[in-house]
C-alpha cells in the first residue's frame, strides 16, 4: 500500500533526518518526496511504500505521532487512495 506522509511545523534542524531515519529503520521506502515552506511553515510530503513495513499501520500512526511531538511538528500518514479519491476524477 502506498501512503502519503505529511510533516508540517516550524522549521528547524533535523526534521527531515528524523523522519527519514524512522522510515528507514522500519523498512518503509520513500517513493517520492517534496518539501517547501508554505505560509512560513516547513511542509514536507512523502509518498511511501508500507508493504514491507516492520509495524502495522496503527502502530506506525502512533509512533509517527510520537516522533512528531519529539520533533515539534505534525506528522500524518494516510492511505494514498484518500487523496486520489478526493482530488482525481
Amino acid at each position: 500500500m502506498r501512503a502519503i506522509l505529511t510533516t508540517i511545523g516550524k522549521d528547524k534542524t533535523g526534521i527531515i533526518a528524523g523522519v527519514s531515519c524512522y522510515l528507514a529503520q522500519n523498512d518503509i521506502n520513500i517513493v517520492d518526496v517534496s518539501q517547501t515552506i508554505m505560509d512560513g511553515y516547513f511542509t514536507m510530503m512523502m509518498m511511501v511504500d508500507v508493504d514491507d513495513a516492520a509495524a502495522d499501520f496503527e502502530k506506525l500512526t502512533q509512533e509517527l505521532d510520537a516522533l512528531g511531538t519529539k520533533l515539534g511538528v505534525d506528522i500524518n500518514i494516510r492511505n494514498q487512495e484518500m487523496y486520489d479519491a478526493m482530488h482525481q476524477l
Binding site: I4, T6, I8, V31, D32, V33, S34, Q35, T36, M38, T43, M45, M47, F57, E58, T61, D74, N76, I77, R78, N79, E81, M82, Y83, A85, M86, H87
Partner: protein, 458 residues
C-alpha cells in the same frame, strides 16, 4: 530546498494534499456514520423467544467486525468516523408473527446485540403506518415508551404519512400521546424516536434509520458530514455573488462525498457486504465550527432565523446534492442539511438570542433534509399539541413529496428559557416555546388526510 521527482503523473500535489489535511484537522471533516443495514426477515418466528435469539445471532454474526473495520479505516485514511451503527428491518413486521402483547423483548434483543458488537446505535424498532395499522404496528407503537426506557442503544421511528397515501391521523394522534408518555418515563427516550412522513428505507442516520424490506440482506451505507469544511470554503468567497456561493458549496460537497464513497466502498468490501448508498447530509455537531447555522451566517445572515434564512438553506441543500450526486455511485438516505437545534452550536445560540423559534424552524423544514429535529419543549405540553406539530410537518412532507420528521423532546419540570443537556453527539438545548392555542379538537377527529392530487401541482 525543493525536491520533486515525477512518477506517472505529478503525484505530490502539495496544495491538494494540504487541502485534505486541513479539512480533517482544522475544519472537522469526518464521516458521521458507517451503518450496516441487516435484514431480519429470515428471523421471523411465531415463538418470540426463538425469534429474538435468531435476531441476536444474525446481528452479532453479520456485524461482528463492523467496529473493528470502522476503526481500521479511521486509522488508515486518517478520517474520524463518529459513529458505527446498525439498522434492521422494522420490528413491527418481524414481531407480528408472534402474537405477543408487547415487543419490549425484541427491543432488548436488539440492545443486547448492539452492545455485543460495540456499535453506537441500532435503529429499526419501527412501524410503517402511513396508510393503516396492522396488528404488529399497534403492539409496537404501544410498547414504544417502555421499550425505549428499558434499552440504551435502540432507536425507534414511526412513519405516519406519505405523498402517495396521505396522513394517518389516528397514528398522528397516538404518537403525540406516545411522545408525552415516553418523556414522562425518561425524556431522553424522545431523543431516540422520530416520527416521519415519507420515511426512506436506506437512511443511515438515527434515530430514524431502518433497513427497508426492498434492501439486500446486508448493506453498508454511510453518511458524510462536513459543515465546517463548507463554512471554511465559503470564508474564501466573502462578498461574491450567490452564484459563486452555490458553486463553492457544490465543489466542496463533491470532495466530501468522494471521501464518503471511498470509505463506504472500502468498508463494504472488508465486511463482505454490499455497498448501499452515501447519504449526502450535512450533519452538524455541537462543537463550534461544525454548524449548519454558521454556514448560513457565513452566507450573510447576522443570525440564523433572520429573513432570508429559508432561501439560504434551500440553496445550500440543493448545492450539496448537485455536488455530491456526481461524486458517488449511489446517493440515497435523506441527503441534505440537517437542522437539529440541540446538535448545532449556532442554532442553540440563535434560539437563546430570540432569533429562532419553532415557526421559523418549521418553514425551514420545507427546504431542508428532515424536520423539527431535537427540539426541547416544556414538559407540560399537551399531547394534542405535539400531534399538531407532527401533523404540520407530515403535511409539509406530503405536499412537497419530501421526507419530513419530528423529534421533539418534552422535558418534565422544565420551562421556556431553561436548558437541558443530552450529552455526546446529541448536545444540549434551550427549552423552546410552542403555540398555546389548542389543536385538540382537530387531532381527536382521527381518520386520514387523503393523499394530495399532484397533477395540479403549483
Amino acid at each position: 530546498m525543493t525536491l520533486c521527482t515525477s512518477y506517472r503523473r505529478p503525484v505530490l500535489e502539495t496544495e491538494k494534499i494540504m487541502e485534505t489535511v486541513r479539512m480533517v484537522s482544522e475544519e472537522k471533516l469526518d464521516l458521521r456514520t458507517i451503518t450496516m443495514g441487516i435484514s431480519l426477515l429470515d428471523c421471523i418466528d411465531s415463538d418470540s423467544d426463538r425469534a429474538c435469539q435468531k435476531i441476536y445471532d444474525k446481528i452479532t454474526k453479520k456485524a461482528k467486525d463492523l467496529v473493528r473495520v470502522g476503526e481500521e479505516i479511521e486509522t488508515e485514511f486518517g478520517i474520524p468516523v463518529a459513529n458505527k451503527r446498525i439498522t434492521v428491518t422494522p420490528i413491527s413486521l418481524i414481531a407480528a408473527a408472534s402474537g405477543d402483547h408487547d415487543y419490549v423483548k425484541y427491543a432488548l434483543a436488539l440492545d443486547r446485540a448492539a452492545k455485543t458488537v460495540g456499535v453506537d446505535f441500532i435503529g429499526g424498532y419501527s412501524a410503517l403506518v402511513q396508510k393503516g395499522y396492522q396488528n404488529g404496528d399497534k403492539t409496537l407503537i404501544k410498547s414504544l415508551p417502555e421499550a425505549l426506557t428499558q434499552t440504551d442503544l435502540v432507536c425507534a421511528s414511526v412513519n405516519v404519512g406519505s405523498t402517495r397515501t396521505g396522513i394517518n391521523m389516528d397514528a398522528v394522534k397516538e404518537m403525540g400521546e406516545v411522545v408525552k408518555k415516553a418523556s414522562e418515563l425518561d425524556y431522553m427516550n424522545n431523543a431516540k424516536m422520530v416520527i416521519f412522513c415519507n420515511a426512506v428505507e436506506d437512511n443511515p442516520f438515527m434515530a430514524g434509520g431502518f433497513h427497508g424490506v426492498g434492501e439486500s440482506d446486508v448493506v453498508i451505507n454511510c453518511g458524510v458530514s462536513g459543515p465546517g469544511v463548507v463554512k471554511a470554503a465559503l470564508e474564501k468567497v466573502k462578498g461574491e455573488s450567490m452564484d459563486v456561493v452555490a458553486e463553492t458549496i457544490k465543489k466542496t460537497a463533491f470532495k466530501v462525498t468522494r471521501m464518503g464513497q471511498l470509505v463506504g466502498t472500502t468498508a463494504a468490501k472488508r465486511l463482505g457486504a454490499k455497498f448501499g448508498i452515501v447519504d449526502l447530509s450535512l450533519a452538524p455537531t455541537a462543537a463550534i465550527g461544525d454548524s449548519i447555522a454558521e454556514i448560513l451566517e457565513e452566507i450573510g445572515l447576522s443570525s440564523v432565523g433572520a429573513h432570508g434564512t429559508t432561501a439560504a438553506l434551500a440553496m445550500l441543500n440543493d448545492a450539496v446534492k448537485k455536488g455530491g450526486i456526481m461524486a458517488c455511485s449511489h446517493v440515497g438516505g435523506l441527503s441534505g442539511a440537517f437542522i437539529p437545534v440541540s446538535e448545532d452550536a449556532g442554532m442553540i445560540k440563535a434560539v437563546n438570542a430570540g432569533y429562532l423559534n419553532v415557526s421559523k424552524l418549521e418553514a425551514m423544514t420545507a427546504v431542508c433534509s428532515v424536520g423539527l429535529d431535537m427540539i426541547a419543549v416544556p414538559g407540560d405540553i399537551e399531547a394534542s399539541t405535539i400531534s399538531g406539530m407532527i401533523a404540520d410537518e407530515a403535511a409539509i412532507g406530503m405536499i412537497n413529496a419530501k421526507t419530513t420528521a419530528v423529534r421533539v423532546i418534552p422535558v418534565p419540570g422544565k420551562k421556556v428559557g431553561d436548558t437541558v443537556e443530552f450529552g455526546g453527539l446529541l448536545g444540549y438545548a434551550p427549552i423552546m416555546d410552542v403555540s398555546h392555542a389548542s389543536s385538540a379538537a382537530m387531532i381527536s377527529r382521527g381518520g386520514t388526510i387523503p393523499a394530495p392530487v399532484h397533477s395540479f401541482k403549483n
